[in-house]
């Protein structure tokens, strides 16, 4: 494990060339919180592009402007991105989110951690 960074909303670390982003319990993600999350992740990356693994189990609800922002800017400096969430409601919430907001890099949702990591490795292209 190389580096770790923690904000009030997320914990970030890098392992095996993958940037892990763990969302802390957040009742309602607003646009301001979404901006903070994206900004702190990109700053943590220090100009490098990574495969990104997001554990979103802490998110309870979000506003539409926040979702739009995460979909558009959330993949900046990402080669590919996975969302890991094993809650029942995540199936609806996150699939709907991806249908309505097409991210600019390969993105998928998994409820199994191993499958998510496999997807990232299969999308590990050099940029």
């Amino acid at each position: 494990m190389d580096r770790i960074h923690e904000t009030i909303y997320c914990k970030y670390w890098i392992a095996d060339g993958i940037l892990f982003c763990l969302y802390k319990p957040i009742a309602y993600i607003t646009l301001q919180i979404a901006r903070n999350i994206v900004s702190s992740r990109i700053r943590f990356q220090e100009n490098e592009t990574f495969l990104v693994f997001c554990d979103t189990r802490g998110i309870k609800d979000s506003s539409k402007p926040a979702r739009d922002y995460l979909a558009r800017e959330g993949s900046t400096l990402a080669k590919a991105l996975v969302i890991f969430d094993d809650r029942k409601l995540s199936n609806s919430m996150l699939h709907y989110y991806l249908v309505r907001n097409k991210p600019s890099v390969p993105t998928a949702i998994f409820n199994e951690r191993e499958d998510a990591l496999e997807f990232l490795k299969s999308n590990d292209i050099n940029i």
């Binding site: 309870k60 900046t76 029942k88 409601l89 919430m93 989110y97 309505r100």
Partner: protein
């Protein structure tokens, strides 16, 4: 089925009826459950928000509303964020009596999911006598039904008095019945001359819309690459220039090249503000071979140079 689940389903039914009546700021109250009912609650809320945004754009384009056709809810709060005064629309729209609210904390009318946000706003207000920001808050009506509101929160502070007050103001067009009235409003506002100037309707069939969405996705996935001219781009996706030009504008409210430029600028701004990459590299990542063209477009979009935007952040 448990009584609690029946209540949750009734809440979803209430919001679906609200949607039918055009009340798109209605929300299903979220719980901490993780089951199929909660999944449907989430989907209904997300879908309502999508519809609200689409209708808002539609109404801004087509409906000229007058001040009397607006709802104005206002809460005046004291230093401890207790409610001092409320406008009449608060009573009409949220169903409270004045005595239910006066001297109550403002958090009484807020969804519990907004408590943490409200605490953050509150501490900023106490620090900043010129606080004036817009926030999306979820208010509760008398029956504890949630309602999404875009609020302007302003600190009212006069020098010479230590009595800082806060105004929470919600100003929105009357939405009730809009879906039914739309046709009427448009018919009244559209004479033959205007109709003849309208762009042709080219997104009536699903296949054309699917192609336009593919082109839209292709653009956001390839911001760093040059975009072909419209005839070639259209040809690559199995359509023609006419359908691409008018259809894209109809579907996304902007032209292909303006959309491309906006997306490139957004990407550039995020990279400038959060990385130390050279401006030349960021320009290339945004599809500009010439950094000075990037700088010119950036300044046009945000009123500040790329370097200036970086300094500010």
């Amino acid at each position: 089925m448990e009584i609690r689940d029946i209540e949750r389903l009734k809440d979803i039914r209430r919001v679906i009826f609200d949607i039918a009546f055009g009340k798109l700021d209605s929300r299903v109250t979220r719980t901490d459950e993780d089951d199929i009912i909660e999944s449907i609650a989430v989907l209904v809320n997300m879908m309502t928000e999508e519809m609200r945004e689409t209708l808002q754009l539609y109404s801004e384009l087509h409906i000229q509303t007058k001040p009397e056709e607006h709802i104005h809810m206002a809460f005046l709060l004291d230093l401890n964020f207790k409610i001092l005064h409320i406008s009449n629309d608060v009573l009409v729209e949220l169903g409270y009596k004045a005595e239910d609210l006066l001297n109550e904390s403002f958090s009484f009318v807020l969804s519990k999911n907004n408590m943490s946000l409200w605490r953050t706003i509150g501490s900023k207000i106490l620090d900043d006598e010129k606080y004036d920001e817009r926030h999306s808050l979820i208010l509760l009506d008398k029956d504890k039904n949630e309602r999404f509101c875009s609020c302007i929160i302003t600190s009212l502070f006069s020098t010479g008095s230590y009595n800082q007050q806060t105004l929470v103001s919600i100003y929105e067009p009357v939405k009730q019945g809009r879906m039914l009235e739309d046709t009427g409003v448009n018919k009244r506002g559209t004479d033959e001359n205007q109709r003849s100037k309208k762009p042709p309707n080219v997104v009536t069939n699903a296949k054309d819309r699917k192609i336009l969405r593919s082109i839209h996705n292709h653009i956001i996935e390839n911001l760093e690459k040059p975009l072909p001219h419209l005839p070639e781009l259209a040809n690559n996706f199995g359509t023609n220039e006419f359908k691409l030009k008018y259809g894209f504008k109809q579907l996304y409210g902007t032209t292909v090249f303006r959309f491309l430029k906006n997306e490139r600028m957004r990407k550039g701004k995020v990279l400038l503000e959060n990385t130390s990459l050279p401006i030349k590299t960021i320009a290339e990542m945004c599809g500009y071979l010439n950094p000075s063209h990037f700088s010119k477009d950036f300044r046009e979009a945000f009123g500040v140079s790329p370097r200036g935007s970086r300094v500010v952040n």
